[in-house]
Amino acid sequence: MALSSWKELPIGTIITEPGNAREFKTGDWRSQRPIWDSEKCIHCLFCFIYCPDSSIKVNEEGKMTGIDLDYCKGCGICAEECPKEAIHMEIEKR
């Protein structure tokens, strides 16, 4: 929703593009990076239901397919809650 001046604000400052926070990448907040081991993963999806940042990718078949680093803030909940230790955290290097 690109606005060049306040005169373009919709009445009521309505946001006309639902879900456009996706355009705002929070991945650069991260100081730790989750590393996923697909071999160990049993696709229980606990990491998915406990992720605050919509960063666990799940496909149509309900299989975990990886981590979306665009949004992941590196909280480490997934690594903590994974019953199979299929995720571990490493210091983020930039």
Binding site: M1, L3, T13, I15, E17, P18, G19, N20, A21, R22, E23, F24, K25, T26, W29, R30, C44, L45, F46, F48, I49, Y50, C51, P52, D53, S54, S55, V58, E61, G62, D68, D70, Y71, K73, G74, C75, G76, I77, A79, E80, E81, M89
Partner: protein, 305 residues
């Protein structure tokens, strides 16, 4: 009960790119609610952390119709939405059933929005009200609310030489709303997603006002490492500080009974906001907290029969 695979179908109703602190339970709560409610949902959210982090103009993490309302008005604003919805439905201008859900923090629920919530429940509007309870006014920098537990350090109950953190026990919201005669009221926790999503389903299927109070740990205000959010939540239930129960038309039901005795001390120890209690001069407060927890647990068991 829906499986996590089914719940994952609604994953995009609250998107990434919101600006909650790393490890915040608030977005976990919202996502779990929407995973059950689905896209035919209208939400109101009062001013507080979840509003501030999810709708920083011109962005919104909400992929459903959503209205941000003043701090004290999550329930009253949604009352208006519900009244309009009923009229439009009667006139055949809306299709299908829509879920109406109000979200608010504990400050917005237990304190400043309380009369709005009480009025909405008394009038009998058909909606679900979810209090994501982080046990203080977090958005303005951690002030005590009537949901803040005894002993907790906040900026307005500062632990020091004058007081050892908050002096009072927290209010029991579920009891207060149950006393209104609401058809369904429940207490929940994000670490038990199966119990919580079942409660959301049940509340949405119930006609009339329904309220769920869900504990939402806040790493910043509770002072614990961000990866411990789910563990802190789980232990709140295991130590009986936060029992999982529901009240349906006045009938109480305990939904989970901890298998072993966990002293409340173990839960307190995980959190920096209680660190000052672990000193010789303040140890008696831990005992008092334990007694308070035991008292409430016994009284709950009696009600559950």
């Amino acid at each position: 009960m829906p499986s996590l695979k089914e719940l994952s179908k609604n994953a995009d109703l609250f998107t990434g790119g919101h600006r909650a602190c790393s490890g915040c339970a608030g977005p976990i709560v919202i996502k779990q609610v929407l995973s059950v409610a689905g896209p035919q949902t209208i939400a109101s959210l009062s001013t507080g952390c979840m509003e501030v982090v999810s709708t920083i103009y011109p962005y919104t993490a909400w992929n459903i119709p959503y209205i941000h309302v003043a701090f004290e008005t999550a329930a009253s604003a949604l009352s208006g939405v519900e009244a309009a919805y009923q009229v439009l439905r009667r006139k055949g201008k809306v299709k299908g059933k829509w879920n109406l859900i109000a979200f608010s923090g504990d400050g917005g629920t237990y304190d400043i929005g309380f009369q709005g919530l009480s009025g909405a429940v008394e009038r009998g509007h058909d909606f679900l009200y979810v209090c994501y309870n982080n046990e203080a006014y977090m958005n303005t920098g951690i002030q005590r609310s009537s949901a803040t537990p005894r002993g907790a350090h906040t900026t307005t109950s500062p632990a020091g030489t004058v007081i050892p953190g908050k002096k009072q026990f927290h209010k029991n919201l579920v009891e207060v709303i149950a006393a209104h005669g609401a058809p369904y009221v429940a207490q929940a926790i994000p670490s038990n997603w199966a119990d919580f999503t079942r409660k959301v389903r049940k509340a949405l299927d119930t006609e009339g006002p329904t309220v769920i109070d869900i504990l939402a740990p806040c790493p910043l205000g509770w002072r614990y490492p961000s990866n411990k959010t789910i563990e802190v939540a789980r232990l709140a239930v295991e130590c009986k500080f936060w029992p999982l129960y529901e009240v349906e038309n006045g009938k109480y039901k305990l939904n989970y009974r901890p298998r072993k005795e966990v002293p409340v001390e173990e839960w307190l120890r995980l959190q920096g906001r209680f660190a000052h209690l672990f000193t010789p001069e303040n140890e008696h407060i831990i005992k008092e907290i334990q007694e308070g927890v035991d008292r409430r647990w016994e009284s709950l068991l009696e009600k559950c029969g």
